[in-house]
């Protein structure tokens, strides 16, 4: 725990204690507020209800702006805009926890965290973590994700990662024939696109296994093994973050 965080925690406890004492004094003592104290309390009460609502409204506004930016071809949300959204989201987490989701924004915030966007990937930083992030949030994307602008706006390495992770999922769920099919599907990107992504990993074994599986549809075992091999992913994951490909 850092010193700053410890100080903040101690400050929080101190404020809570002062609040409790004030409440006890105000409720038990025979005490009448003077005019100015009454105004002060009224203002404090108004602020404590208004601020969470304002944070909620600000979050929705920022989110809407970021969404509009993301929907445009080739555009990405600036790191600052994304940081504002993330900070507001973490404030809202506190509000939602302490008010039992009185604002009704818990689901909205969580839904945004499950969005697979270029800005979200930048925040993850480490490539290997980014791969697990993609794996985790991929099922929560909209039904047309493989053909959507959202996928095309991701960095090239992340698009390849999505294609290969989807291949792995589809292989496991529905087998080789379905996974290598050119028909549209939730985890399908077409055979040509899959091969392109496989070539970019730099693993000729993976490309060979793909071609073999396409010719002789049957056991997906070899492909699954390769897709679970750390070395195959190294080609996509070891480049420094943000580098152009």
């Amino acid at each position: 725990m850092t010193v700053g965080r410890a100080a903040r925690n101690a400050g929080g406890w101190l404020l809570t204690a002062v609040g409790v004492v004030v409440i006890i004094v105000a409720t038990t003592a025979d005490y009448r507020f003077s005019g100015s104290a009454g105004v002060l309390i009224a203002v404090a009460a108004a602020v404590s209800t208004l601020v969470p609502v304002l944070v909620g409204a600000a979050y929705l506004a920022v989110r809407r702006r970021n969404r509009t930016t993301e929907a445009v071809e080739g555009a990405t949300v600036s790191p600052r805009a994304r940081a504002v959204q993330t900070s507001l989201a973490s404030v809202l987490d506190r509000v939602n926890d302490s008010t039992d989701d009185a604002l009704g924004l818990h689901r909205v915030v969580l839904g945004d965290r499950l969005k697979l966007t270029a800005a979200a990937l930048l925040e993850v930083g480490d490539r290997w973590d980014a791969l697990s992030f993609i794996w985790f949030v991929r099922p929560s994307q909209a039904g047309d994700f493989p053909r959507s602008q959202h996928l095309r706006n991701l960095p090239a390495w992340a698009q390849d990662a999505v294609v290969l992770l989807d291949l792995r999922r589809e292989l496991q769920l529905r087998g080789t024939e379905s996974a290598l099919s050119d028909e549209p599907g939730f985890y399908r990107h077409g055979f040509a696109r899959v091969c392109e992504a496989a070539r970019r990993t730099g693993s000729s074994e993976l490309v060979d296994a793909l071609l073999a599986a396409r010719r002789d549809v049957g056991q997906p075992q070899r492909l699954l093994e390769l897709l679970d091999d750390v070395q195959v992913w190294g080609g996509l994951a070891q480049l420094p973050p943000g580098s152009a490909r």
Partner: protein, 170 residues
């Protein structure tokens, strides 16, 4: 670890069903057990698999539960991702529409052997099937056991699937 094959081996008589039921002492349970067994016995395809109930948004009162079921010999779903998806990504109107349809299509005469039916033809189950390889339906949360049961018995007759859920015997 639940031994699904062992449970499946016990479902060879109405008594087998009765033994798995949470409320085997209820009046009429025996008769219903026989009806359940007949349905199971005459089905085109059956499996005993895993069940999981997860609280879902969109409901009132006790709230909704999404009942998931799958065959562990063919799929191993990522339950963490499923839970996140239920709380953040599944459209709430899809859950609400499915709850309505599931309630409407239930077999009203089943009593202690209550089962849900026709999941595979509904959009919510297809949403989960496509993404996670599991079947699903949404219902009101009726009992605490809806969230703790862990065994699904699924029988498919003429393209309509039937789901019973149980607690694995210790």
């Amino acid at each position: 670890m639940v031994d699904h094959a062992q449970i499946a081996a016990r479902l060879t008589s109405p008594e087998g069903f009765l033994a798995l039921c949470d409320e085997s002492g209820v009046v009429g349970a025996k008769k219903k057990a026989k009806a359940a067994f007949d349905l199971w016995n005459q089905a085109d395809q059956t499996y005993v698999g895993a069940y999981r109930g997860i609280p879902a948004p969109g409901g009132k009162g006790t709230g909704f539960v999404i009942r998931l079921f799958w065959d562990p010999s063919t799929t191993t779903p990522d339950l963490g991702a499923i839970e996140a998806a239920i709380n953040g990504a599944v459209p709430v109107d899809l859950i609400q529409a499915d709850e309505k349809a599931t309630y409407k299509q239930r077999d009203k005469k089943q009593g202690p052997f209550f089962h849900w039916q026709g999941m595979s033809s509904r959009p919510l189950s297809q949403w989960f099937g496509e993404r996670f390889g599991v079947g699903a339906c949404a219902t009101q949360l009726f009992d605490r056991s809806d969230l703790t049961q862990d065994v699904a018995a699924v029988a498919v007759t003429g393209g309509v699937d039937h789901l019973w859920s149980f607690t694995a015997p210790q």
